[in-house]
């Protein structure tokens, strides 16, 4: 009884302290959160009419039924997968500098998955019926529908990526050693899951013979390769920011190591793209239509052409930057490369993958889709939500990792009134 009361008391203290941590900060911190909150609010203002009038408030039509939301979803799944795959070398090779990244990387993955799931939710016409998809309660079409698979693996992955870092952090808070028997299998399990979320998402498109653009077996490998570029690129930038604003001391060496991995990934990505290009252009069958629409326009319709070329150019330049150690080992060029990759892969993997699948439609009609303000602002709102979640997680995780926020400290500091 006494023990239970103590535990409850302790938990409550922990929450209270966490809340204080989250609610207090520098001026910059408040401004940043305020900015994110207002973007989220704006997104909500656009989302409500979409729910109550219908998806007609977007620019999607029967010809192109998925647009910006699903594009962002696809991209974020890749980012989330890659964030964890970065964690692997830290554990397996005990590569010192990366080890600090583990907890943060997984929290980042969790934030990305939450964003990805939010993008699916805003795309659903009837969110009110979401429970139809839940296993047992609803009527999930498992194992036939890849969307059902995706919901399952994404949620498992989300739970893993919250469980592992939270467990490690709580242990650190109490100054205890984590139970390796418990946590190592979980971490190892998160590796195949990272591959799984990405593969399943690729298969979601891949399994549609009606859409030749996606119905190519190279799709899943391409997904993985491009995710290995964009995910780490974002991480490199995020960690530099954290290093700037928090105590976290991250050696440049760790960043350069990641950059080296990215060079290989980008090579693979470009190689797979080239293979696909060769097959389509050399055989030149009817299946080339979507690819043509994307890269050179079809029947005079070419809305995506400038985008994809800018994206491809970005990827190529970034590849060159990462290829030469001299360039990837200088922070300024490294950062340029990362930003190019983040944007380039977004274009290629997001809109560049989703939209051409629908153009031309199965009866040959071409509808040139471009997102409208509703879609843009809702998307910004979701990105802001993800960033806010990540910021708040960091606000708690970093002081714990640094030892600044710990149980031992609390015991030292607690006021006399708490004694008894």
């Amino acid at each position: 009884m006494q023990a239970l009361r103590e535990t409850l008391h302790e938990t409550w203290r922990f929450y209270r302290k966490t809340l204080t941590l989250v609610l207090t900060g520098t001026r910059e911190y408040y401004l940043w959160c305020l900015l994110l909150l207002s973007i989220m609010f704006l997104g909500l203002l656009f989302y409500l009419p979409q729910v109550y009038t219908g998806l007609i408030t977007t620019n999607m039509k029967d010809q192109v039924v998925w647009g910006l939301y699903i594009a962002n979803f696809t991209y974020l799944v890749g980012v989330a997968a890659a964030a964890v795959l970065l964690v692997v070398p830290a554990y397996i090779y005990q590569f010192g500098p990366i080890k600090e990244i583990v907890v943060l990387g997984e929290l980042f993955a969790a934030s990305s998955i939450i964003m990805a799931l939010l993008f699916v939710m805003v795309d659903l016409g009837r969110v009110d019926r979401f429970w139809h998809m839940l296993p047992l309660i609803g009527s999930m079409n498992f194992p036939n529908s890849l969307l059902a698979w995706d919901v399952i693996v994404l949620n498992i992955y989300l739970v893993l990526n919250l469980l592992i870092p939270v467990y490690l952090l709580v242990k650190t808070y109490y100054g205890k050693e984590p139970n390796r028997k418990f946590i190592v299998p979980l971490i190892l399990f998160s590796i195949p899951m990272a591959v799984a979320i990405h593969t399943v998402t690729a298969f979601l498109y891949n399994g549609l013979p009606a859409r030749p653009f996606w119905n190519a077996s190279i799709l899943a490998p391409r997904f993985l390769a491009s995710a290995f570029c964009s995910g780490p690129a974002i991480i490199i930038i995020v960690f530099q920011i954290l290093r700037e604003y928090t105590f976290i001391k991250l050696e440049d060496r760790a960043l350069f190591k990641i950059a080296e991995l990215m060079a290989y990934a980008m090579f693979l990505n470009l190689f797979l793209l080239m293979s696909e290009m060769f097959k389509e252009y050399y055989s030149n069958t009817v299946h080339i239509a979507s690819l043509k629409y994307l890269y050179e326009g079809l029947h005079g319709k070419n809305a995506l052409v400038p985008w994809i070329w800018v994206g491809t150019a970005m990827n190529l330049i970034a590849f060159v930057i990462f290829l030469f150690p001299a360039m990837r080992k200088r922070l300024s060029t490294l950062n340029i490369g990362c930003i190019l990759i983040i944007a380039g892969v977004w274009i290629e993997k997001g809109p560049g993958l989703v939209i051409p699948g629908f153009v031309p439609d199965p009866l040959g009609e071409i509808y040139e889709y471009m997102p409208n303000f509703t879609e843009l602002f809702i998307s910004f709102g979701i990105w802001a939500t993800g960033l806010l979640i990540f910021t708040l997680l960091m606000k708690v995780a970093i002081p714990i990792a640094s030892g600044e926020f710990s149980h031992a400290k609390y015991i030292e500091e607690r006021p006399a009134s708490d004694w008894q």
């Binding site: 219908g54 998806l55 016409g125 009527s139 999930m140 079409n141 919901v151 399994g207 040959g364």
Partner: protein
């Protein structure tokens, strides 16, 4: 097998839903009774006969209130030993689109903003019959037919092997025993995965609340067919399930001025569609995808 599975599942579901609705009493009392009913409504195939009847009474009352018209909602089941099949004579079709508009009226499809049509007639150059990439969807001459073109109406082909059913994450769409592919509009979550999967553009999304002038409602409806839909769900051609299950022709068959459209039971050797298959040169669209459409295009031999 389905039944057994569902009893256990139902139990769990009821438990969860009770908990859910119990904990959300304040929320639920703040929104209308209709919303609650809709929210808790079961999958059509899992309802008992009594539940279906209650549902239909409820819907009829609701439609009366909402649209000011007295609807007759049917939930008639498939006639045994039938498998509906369609035939379309490409040498006769003149591309007048009367079927398109007959369908819109029969099936209570949205008229304007958005306009929703289940049949699409495409115009192809003579000499390249299935070159869909060069099809014209919005041809609009003063007079049809035009000399150099032929016309191909396309609607849901009621595949025996329907990819749309395979991909739906929630079983909101399925193939009935008589071969009709239908949607439970109250179960669909509006993800549009089925539209992505359909190779024939057979499925249409209700991007907004469908809009039909109140004097133009067809009040004789089927639950799985032409009953009034709601926003953000998918719908599609059902070969006029409300008609064919009571022995009538689909509306498009009746509307066609050239008699290009044939319809019948594929299992009945005496049916029109069997005659077409045996005596004409038929083909099906995109047979390479193995969707096995029950929609046969043919030419006068």
């Amino acid at each position: 097998m389905r039944d057994k599975l569902y009893t256990r599942r139902e139990w769990i579901r009821n438990l969860c839903l009770t908990a859910l609705s119990g904990s959300a009493i304040s929320l639920i009392s703040s929104c209308g009774k209709e919303e609650v009913e809709d929210f808790l409504q079961k999958h059509f195939l899992e309802m008992t006969r009594e539940e279906k009847e209650a549902l239909i009474t409820r819907l009829e009352a609701r439609y009366l209130k909402k649209y000011g018209r007295k609807f007759k909602v049917s939930a008639q089941e498939a006639i045994p030993d039938t498998l509906w099949g369609y035939g379309l004579d490409l040498s006769r079709c003149i591309g007048c689109r009367r079927c398109v508009y007959a369908c819109v009226e029969e099936n209570n499809s949205s008229r304007l903003k958005p306009q929703s049509q289940w049949i699409r007639v495409i115009r192809l150059k003579k000499g390249s019959l299935v070159d869909l990439e060069n099809s014209e969807h919005y041809y609009n001459p003063d007079l049809v037919p035009e000399k150099d073109f032929l016309y191909m109406p396309v609607q849901c082909q009621h595949c025996e092997n329907p990819p749309c059913v395979k991909v739906c994450p929630v079983h909101a769409t399925w193939k009935e025993p008589d071969g009709l592919v239908v949607v439970d509009y109250n179960w669909c979550i509006g993800c549009r995965y089925c539209i992505a999967a359909c190779p024939y553009r057979g499925r249409i999304f209700n991007w907004a609340e469908p809009n039909v002038p109140s004097d133009q409602w067809n009040t004789s409806v089927h639950y799985l067919g032409n009953r009034p839909r709601m926003r953000n769900v998918v719908d599609k051609c059902t070969y006029c399930i409300q008609r064919v299950r009571v022995g009538r022709y689909p509306a498009c068959v009746e509307a066609c001025p050239t008699g290009s459209r044939k319809f019948g039971n594929l299992l009945d050797p005496q049916s029109e569609i069997r005659y077409v298959i045996e005596n004409k040169r038929t083909f099906r669209l995109k047979e390479d995808l193995r969707t096995e459409p029950k929609f046969y295009y043919f030419f006068e031999a």
